[in-house]
């Protein structure tokens, strides 16, 4: 199904309010559609591929590089200065900022994303959850103490074990208690309350059904302004570190056919009741037999590429067409998938040091090529990786006839990804893909945290060490000079000595 090269869009020039790999990826589609690509960038990014590729670039200034990309007013002004007619926010930064979307529209420009009201609705987690519940979309059963303090304990008991009790005013995991045995519920509530008081000075509690070993599954949605809403199936994103995804795939290896159809229908349902328009993602938390609505992301996701690989659709192109007021032009049954796609995120970080971000110059860079391999990358050789931004450098996506093939292709692609000068998580990703549970598709969001052996760097073998030392010694001035300085006779004698 090809949706490109149809009716011209309502804008000819698009400003990208983002950086790195996603800016490069958006520029690619703008090129394909014959649109002008403009980019607003901080000076620190002047020598990045996105700025080099863009047709026009405008500098934005702020106290810090990140602050520049968050300066909505300045970016809208920059679009005006450069003559852009639409703004694509990418992901992160201002992509889910309702007042930015409103400011773009108020300036007479097109915002490539849903309307500001939808962003605001989905950004309010309590309203979004209430909307889902009212639409009979499963949300994790919960009890808010404030609703009826006297009946709280009984309402919590009615949720059924296991239950997560947490401070209503809390965050960061403090004061959270998991109750697996309901006979201990009264004690646990008391303890949670005293911890809530101690940490937050507020003893009010909130409880919800706890999911053991949860999986993170999300559904890609596309909706136009005429009420046409389709899903592009699910993505499984259960492999996470520090609550951030590292490997994503589609289809999910853990859903039955029936579960897949139910979860996709629920996602379409929430998109429809919210009057959603443009690309969005509905996230769910799943157990073996249940799934609950978590939230809706009103933007393009980092991992959208796996969906593109299996559906053949260009999601950025679809976003631009929808923002331009065009109808989808196809229905659910027109969307077919082929094979399996898996993505690995390459981060500048040291897995053996608890994923501490790393920095350094890119001395050499070589990306893998091949059938079914896609590389979305935002950095180039000669550039220095700083701590100014999120440490994600690139995404490797592999597409194969089935999951085993895709995994093998991704593994090979990771081996062929060479970035010298700044430590990356590539070796960790290969160990992760080799994990027995990952290979079997038995994943949950705690898998990485529970597998410290994945983080450790194995000792190199003597044979590998010898090769590495030979390479280093032969390219080390001091070692070569010393070798040249030893008289031939002396070297001969040393050889005999052994």
């Amino acid at each position: 199904m090809s949706t490109d090269a149809r009716t011209p869009l309502s804008f000819r020039s698009v400003l990208i309010a983002n950086r790195g790999e996603i800016a490069v990826r958006i520029i690619r589609t703008l090129r394909k559609l014959g649109l002008e690509a403009c980019i607003a960038h901080h000076a620190i990014d002047k020598n990045t591929p996105a700025v080099a590729m863009a047709d026009r670039a405008v500098e934005i200034e702020a106290a810090s590089p990140v602050a520049a990309y968050l300066d909505a007013a300045q970016i809208v002004r920059a679009a005006g200065t450069i003559g852009a007619e639409a703004i694509h926010p990418g992901y992160g930064f201002l992509s889910e900022n309702a007042s930015f979307a409103r400011a773009v529209v108020n300036a007479g420009l097109t915002f490539v994303g849903p309307p500001a009201e939808t962003i605001a609705l989905m950004g309010d987690k309590i309203r979004a959850r209430a909307l889902a519940a009212a639409s009979e979309i499963p949300v994790a059963p919960s009890a808010i103490e404030d609703d009826d303090p006297a009946g709280f304990v009984e309402r919590v008991r009615a949720l059924g074990a296991p239950i997560l009790v947490k401070p209503a005013a809390g965050g960061g995991g403090k004061g959270m208690r998991i109750v697996r045995d309901l006979s201990l519920l009264d004690d646990e509530i008391q303890r949670a309350r005293s911890e809530a008081l101690r940490y937050f000075g507020d003893g009010r509690l909130f409880a919800e059904r706890y999911i053991e070993n949860p999986r993170h599954i999300e559904v890609q949605i596309l909706a136009d302004a005429y009420g046409n809403t389709v899903h592009l199936f699910e993505r499984e994103c259960s492999l996470q570190r520090r609550f951030q995804k590292v490997v994503e795939e589609s289809p999910s290896p853990s859903l039955t056919k029936e579960q897949r159809s139910n979860i996709c229908a629920a996602a379409v349902g929430i998109a429809k009741v919210s009057g959603y328009c443009n690309a969005g993602t509905v996230e769910f938390v799943c157990s073996d037999n249940e799934f609950f609505f978590l939230e809706m992301n009103t933007r393009l996701q980092v991992e959208h590429a796996v969906t593109e690989m299996i559906t053949g659709l260009d999601l950025v192109s679809e976003q631009l067409r929808i923002a331009s007021g065009q109808a989808l032009g196809y229905g659910q049954t027109d969307i077919r998938t082929t094979g399996h796609a898996i993505e690995a995120r390459i981060y500048a970080e040291d897995a053996s040091r608890d994923f501490l971000p790393t920095t350094g110059p890119i001395l050499a860079l070589q990306v893998p090529k091949g059938a079914g391999i896609r590389v979305d990358i935002g950095v180039a050789q000669g550039q220095t990786i700083t701590a100014a931004f999120d440490p994600m450098l690139a995404k490797l996506i592999a597409h194969g006839p089935d999951r085993t093939d895709a995994l093998e292709a991704l593994r090979a692609a990771l081996a062929g990804f060479v970035l010298l000068g700044c430590k990356t998580n590539c070796a960790f990703l290969r160990r992760l893909l080799d994990d027995a549970d990952v290979r079997r598709g038995h994943m949950h969001t705690g898998l990485i945290a529970e597998s410290p052996s994945l983080l450790r760097e194995p000792k190199v073998s003597d044979d590998t060490a010898r090769k590495l030392l030979a390479a280093a010694a032969l390219s080390c001035r001091e070692v070569r000079d010393a070798a040249e300085a030893i008289p031939a006779m002396h070297a001969e004698m040393n050889a005999w000595r052994n």
């Binding site: 010298l420 290969r430 590495l468 280093a472 010694a473 070798a483």
Partner: protein
């Protein structure tokens, strides 16, 4: 003895230390590592790509160097090696050994040796007078003790970090 120490080089791969030496014999470099010797060579293919030959094995590697750090991509994995000279390893072994020696702060020539092995010295006494960058410099005893050995004679040239004089180790009381 002294010459052999100078020939050896210390690299680290992760937290592991590797002591090697490289010699050139009949135009072939020989790498000595953990008791075995291997003929080695490196041919540059393109900017950062090389062919590495170690004994019978031949690998295409990516290689980049920055200061004392060597980045090598071999068999799908990137490794970092750091070059440290042999002396720095001995420094980290014991805090006290640093006080037992007088090291050359820069390359130069020995001008004069005011002490002899067996001489008692007080902390701060002149032990070696050197000339470096056309300046004369007095190297002094790091602590009170007895001179154990002097590695150079007047007129000898040395590299930075060379041990020029050693003191008898302190005896635990």
């Amino acid at each position: 003895m002294h010459g052999e120490i100078e020939m050896e080089h210390l690299f680290t791969i992760g937290s592991e230390e590797h002591l090697i030496w490289l010699a050139r014999r009949r135009n072939v470099f020989q790498l000595s590592h953990r008791g075995s010797e291997t003929p080695v060579s490196l041919e540059q293919c393109s900017e950062n790509i090389c062919r590495l030959n170690t004994g019978e094995a031949s690998d295409v590697i990516a290689l980049a160097v920055r200061g004392d750090t060597f980045y090598v991509h071999l068999n799908g994995e990137t490794h970092e090696l750091i070059y440290r000279n042999v002396i720095s390893r001995f420094e980290t072994k014991s805090a006290r050994t640093a006080d037992d020696v007088v090291r050359a702060p820069m390359p130069g020539t020995v001008v004069h040796l005011p002490v002899h092995p067996g001489d008692p010295v007080t902390a701060g006494d002149a032990v070696v007078v050197i000339e470096s960058m056309k300046l004369e410099m007095v190297l002094r005893a790091p602590r009170t003790g007895t001179i154990k050995s002097l590695s150079m004679a007047a007129g000898d040239k040395f590299e930075r970090d060379t041990i020029l004089a050693s003191l008898e180790p302190l005896v635990e009381s």
